[in-house]
């Protein structure tokens, strides 16, 4: 899945508008993911996953920061997320299917908070971008 020029423009524009709330968006994304896809909780047995959890907020902030970083280096996502890719391959080993679930929840968060921003064209670009991020993070799995 190749990001074309318009996709990169759309992604940068979206993150330009929402990047400031990245932490909140990240936390809500995780909250929604744990609610809608309870199997994703299996990766966080060491976390308090109750609503408002400081750990979920903290982790949401990390996830959002990574997405922002990828958006800021949309021409070389693999380079920007190389260390994170190593981490996921060597230590975290989150099954690849879960990145799609996270992506779905991120899109839902953007849709619910910024419906006007998520035009069909932007939706398409953001979906591709999230796929690309997932691909990079699982690229070194085997």
């Amino acid at each position: 899945m190749v990001l074309h020029a318009n996709d990169k423009t759309n992604v940068k524009a979206v993150f330009g508008k929402i990047g400031g709330q990245a932490e909140e968006l990240g936390a809500e994304t995780l909250e929604r993911m744990f609610a809608a896809y309870p199997q994703t909780k299996t990766y966080f047995p060491h976390f308090d996953l109750a609503k408002g959890s400081a750990q979920v907020k903290g982790h949401g902030k990390k996830v959002a920061a990574a997405l922002v970083e990828a958006a800021n280096h949309v021409d070389d996502i693999a380079g920007a997320l190389s260390k994170l890719s190593d981490l996921h391959a060597q230590k975290l080993r989150v099954d690849p299917v879960n990145f799609k679930l996270l992506g779905q929840c991120f899109l839902v968060v953007v849709a619910s908070r910024h419906p006007a921003l998520l035009t069909p064209e932007v939706h398409a670009s953001l979906d591709k971008f999230l796929c690309a991020v997932g691909t990079v993070l699982t690229a070194k799995y085997r």
Partner: protein
């Protein structure tokens, strides 16, 4: 048989009660064709699908989107017998329409995003959870008669 809690039924019904089937259906189908362009393969007789603008304005897309979401409404009226409700439609999608069931999952996820954009903060995590379950059950029911 799928079990629905009273809360899930309430979350589904309260959203559905406020949905414009025509608008949401049209939007969901249009987004499917735009976000996942390979899904256009099923609609070669729909005319102009050459751009997002063309797709959104295409009357056949709007009409078919309404038809699809109306059918979805049948699932909501029959939450306790979704498999039975979609038995014939499942056979149709396999035998006549030759649609890969993965497409039902794609459309379901898009529908959830469309609902989120319409309902904003009211589309709570619990609400999303109930609806992700519903679209999953519908997709499963539509795939059930495949052979």
């Amino acid at each position: 048989m799928v079990h629905w809690s009273a809360e899930e039924k309430q979350l589904i019904a309260s959203v559905w009660g406020k949905v414009s089937v025509e608008e949401c259906g049209a939007e969901a189908l249009a987004r499917l064709l735009i976000v996942y362009p390979w899904t256009q393969r099923f609609f070669s007789d729909f005319g102009n699908l050459s751009s997002p603008t063309a797709i959104i304005g295409n009357p056949k897309v709007r009409a078919h989107g309404k038809k699809v979401l109306t059918s979805f409404g049948e699932a909501i009226k029959n939450l306790d017998s979704i498999k039975g409700t979609f038995s014939k439609l499942s056979a149709l999608h396999c035998d006549k329409l030759h649609v890969d069931p993965e497409n039902f999952r794609l459309l379901g996820d898009i529908l959830v995003i469309v609902l989120a954009s319409h309902f904003g903060r009211d589309f709570s995590p619990a609400c999303q959870c109930a609806w992700q379950k519903l679209v999953g059950v519908v997709a499963h029911a539509l795939a059930r008669k495949y052979h």
